[in-house]
């Protein structure tokens, strides 16, 4: 064993000498060596597809919405023409596609994607940008609601941090639906990346610059939303949504909350942690403070046969189409909705609750074959005498629309003695208790916690809701 050791030491010394000599030689050459890199091609579409560029429409879009137009153009011989379909077009409900160069390009020398555009009418393009490659979209950039007119106009979509784009595939993408149900056409020309030198004064933000505070539990997660704002040569402040990977995140307590490079905040333990971000050396406005209350006890998983259930909100069943879990009505203060996910379990969380409606009117649902409403609720406030949770059902009647004299509604109230702080309470309410005239066009389900008289003031403001479904008692 000893001998072998000595030999290997000798060999190591020999290798070391060779290595030193070799690296010495390399050092003298390194000044002339260029590292291999992805092409820096700036052009995306000038008068035709640039090298490597592909057209990949979104699923469900009008596949032939994009064509090369050699009649209408800003400059040169051709432009990109996008035909947005009418509502109801059997070929597709919207126009949308990505234009990737799957070989990848090094865009770090540019500061913006620019193009000229005009449309057949004034319109607002829903989403337009770059960084979409049908993969991770790590460096996705979206300019939302881009106004476009009938005059050729130059548009600038700034790159949130060019140093990140050393191997980018997503050269361009867009998604646009009909305007007031009508299709129209827009053209884009001279689409390319540029180094303008005038994209300046970066002001990144996460969570729209708000300092958010969220109470949550171990196992829950949040996704950071980010924006980058630049001042352009025109004086315009241009804000784009920037994928989380452009940011570097910091957690004040990584044992409680941790953020990955895709911007997913994971809650790992009980305690408080504040998440902040930096984009290209600039501190982003906004933050997320999570107050983790510890372990979360989910409600019991429903076991009823799906054949006997019409589900509004449950991970155990396929839910009917729901318009919203927090519709806005006059006088309503309620925040939140179906935005809490704990270990894959979606939970509705309402805060500042006074009343709130879940609406499912497209289409309305027929519960005439059902006998009960089930819902699990958990009150997060201390429960005081006089507190209550009222559930109201609304049926739109034969016309299946709000109003028209055929609507009916009814309520059931649970008083404070049936509620318990931070404990799931399952309610199974016979539908007959609601006293509805009709049950074949049900469209609304309300939670009401604020009373209208002094004897029942109602102090509950924070409510978790899960497993909201109708069922037939066998």
């Amino acid at each position: 064993m000893k001998d072998i050791k000595i030999i290997s030491l000798k060999i190591a010394v020999l290798f070391g000498v060779i290595f030193t000599v070799t690296s010495g030689c390399e050092r003298s050459l390194s000044g002339d060596v260029d590292f291999a890199s992805f092409p820096v091609t700036a052009e995306v579409f000038i008068d035709g597809f640039s090298g490597g560029l592909e057209y990949r429409p979104f699923e469900g879009s009008k596949l032939d919405a994009f064509i090369v137009d050699d009649q209408e153009r800003y400059e040169g011989t051709a432009s990109m023409r996008f035909n947005v379909p009418n509502v109801g077009d059997p070929a597709g409900a919207f126009a949308g596609a990505i234009f990737p160069d799957n070989g990848g390009r090094n865009l770090s020398g540019y500061d913006a994607l620019t193009f000229w555009a005009r449309a057949s009418q004034g319109a607002t393009i829903n989403e337009i940008g770059f960084g979409n490659d049908f993969g991770e979209n790590k460096f996705l950039v979206t300019l939302p609601n881009m106004r476009i007119s009938t005059a050729w106009t130059k548009y600038i979509i700034p790159i949130p941090d060019p140093t990140r784009l050393t191997n980018e595939k997503g050269m361009f993408w867009y998604s646009e639906g009909p305007e007031n149900n009508n299709g129209y056409t827009f053209w884009i020309d001279e689409l390319k990346f540029e180094k303008l030198g005038t994209v300046a004064q970066p002001r990144p933000a996460i969570f729209n610059g708000e300092d958010r505070v969220e109470q949550t539990f171990i196992g829950s997660s949040f996704t950071v939303t980010g924006t980058q704002t630049f001042n352009l040569a025109s004086g315009l402040n241009q804000t784009v949504s920037a994928a989380p990977s452009y940011f570097t995140f910091t957690s004040t307590n990584p044992d409680v909350a941790r953020v990955n490079e895709l911007g997913v905040v994971s809650i790992l333990d009980q305690g408080t942690a504040k998440i902040t971000a930096v984009l290209a050396g600039v501190r982003a406005a906004g933050s997320l403070t999570v107050e983790s209350l510890g372990n979360f006890t989910p409600p019991l998983i429903p076991t009823r046969d799906a054949a006997n259930v019409i589900s509004i909100f449950s991970d155990a069943y396929t839910n009917v189409p729901v318009d919203f879990y927090n519709g806005f009505f006059g006088g309503q203060t309620t925040l939140g909705g179906a935005d809490l996910v704990i270990d894959g379990n979606n939970i509705i969380r309402y805060t500042e609750l006074n009343f709130v409606a879940t609406e499912f009117k497209n289409p309305t649902i027929d519960i005439t074959q059902m006998t009960h409403l089930h819902v699990d609720v958990q009150v997060e406030n201390p429960v005081n005498t006089g507190d209550f949770v009222t559930i109201e059902l609304g049926d739109f009647g034969a016309n299946a629309a709000f109003g028209g004299g055929d609507d009916s509604s009814g309520r059931v109230t649970f008083t404070s003695d049936t509620l318990k702080t931070r404990t799931w309470v399952p309610f199974d309410i016979p539908l007959t208790d609601f006293g509805l005239t009709n049950r074949s066009n049900l469209a609304q389900l309300f939670f009401i916690t604020e009373g209208t008289n002094d004897t029942q003031p109602g102090t509950i403001t924070d409510l978790l809701v899960d497993n909201m479904y109708f069922y037939r008692q066998e």
Binding site: K195, L196, G197, T198, A200, Q201, R203, N231, A233, G235, N237
Partner: protein, 278 residues
């Protein structure tokens, strides 16, 4: 009129022999391109503030206008000028003039305006500064001069030379102007200079004039972009007497309009130096 002569950067801080050599080159190249051109030779430094001493600006050079003036200093400007360190100080080699959004003595903004009135004035010479400008709608910084007889010869009779004016909402463009009797305010003799692929609020730029008998040359960095002579003004030429220097950061006013919800405050103008040659 538009003589875009190229100056070598750094000329002004060269030693005298170096400057002489360069001047020889200029004389030579000047003759070969334009025989009528006036050769600049203001080479004796008479005022130099490099802002190297932290604290308040040199009181031997700079005084202050305080308050809101009449009608917002004649332009409906919105700021209240102070000499507080919140608005003006020297730090790390720069003069910092900062516009703040705050309620102060009836105004919604505060800022500062420094001037050499009663401390330094001069007829003719090279007046130069190096500044990184602030930005945003309604932000109006300037480096400029007024006739030293302004107390007895009211504006515009006393004359005004705007070496640099800037609209925060037009971050790539500065203006150089002269105002005098018959050509003041909106009728001033003015010209703008726009940077290509760069802007004035992201780095330092040199702004200056060469002012001699019957001409004022305006330059930015190494580009001479305008010359104004008596033939250009639509009234009496009043630029043949002492002028003093002002440097200020205004907020709002007719020249720029008011700040809006997107204007970021505070905004700071960084002045690297002010130098005057004769």
């Amino acid at each position: 009129m538009n003589k875009r002569n190229r100056y070598k950067k750094g000329t002004l801080i060269m030693s005298f022999p170096g400057l002489l050599l360069l001047l020889l080159i200029f004389v030579h190249s000047g003759c070969s391109t334009d025989d009528t051109q006036t050769v600049v030779n203001f080479d004796e430094l008479v005022l130099q503030d490099e802002f190297d001493m932290d604290g308040v600006p040199d009181t031997a050079v700079w005084g202050y206008d305080i308050g809101r003036g009449v009608n917002g200093w004649g332009n409906n400007e919105l700021q209240y000028y102070t000499d507080r360190t919140e608005n003006v100080k020297v730090e790390n080699g720069f003069l910092l003039i900062t516009a703040q959004q705050e309620s102060f003595k009836g105004a919604s903004y505060t800022s500062a305006r420094l001037l050499t009135k009663g401390l330094f004035d001069q007829t003719y010479g090279r007046f130069e500064t190096r500044i990184r400008l602030p930005w945003g709608q309604g932000i109006w910084p300037a480096f400029w001069m007024l006739g030293a007889d302004i107390d007895t010869n009211p504006w515009p009779g006393a004359g005004e030379i705007d070496i640099m004016e800037f609209r925060g909402q037009e971050p790539t463009t500065v203006l150089g102007s002269v105002h005098g009797p018959g050509y003041s305010g909106g009728e001033s003799i003015t010209k703008s200079y726009t940077l290509e692929n760069d802007r004035f609020d992201t780095g330092f730029h040199v702004f200056g004039i060469e002012w001699g008998t019957e001409y004022v040359n305006f330059y930015v960095d190494d580009v001479l972009y305008n010359q104004i002579t008596p033939a250009d003004v639509t009234g009496e030429w009043v630029f043949d007497k002492p002028f003093f220097i002002l440097v200020n950061l205004a907020v709002g006013g007719t020249f720029v309009g008011s700040p809006n919800g997107e204007t970021v405050f505070p905004q700071t103008m960084l002045v690297d130096y002010v130098r005057v040659y004769k």
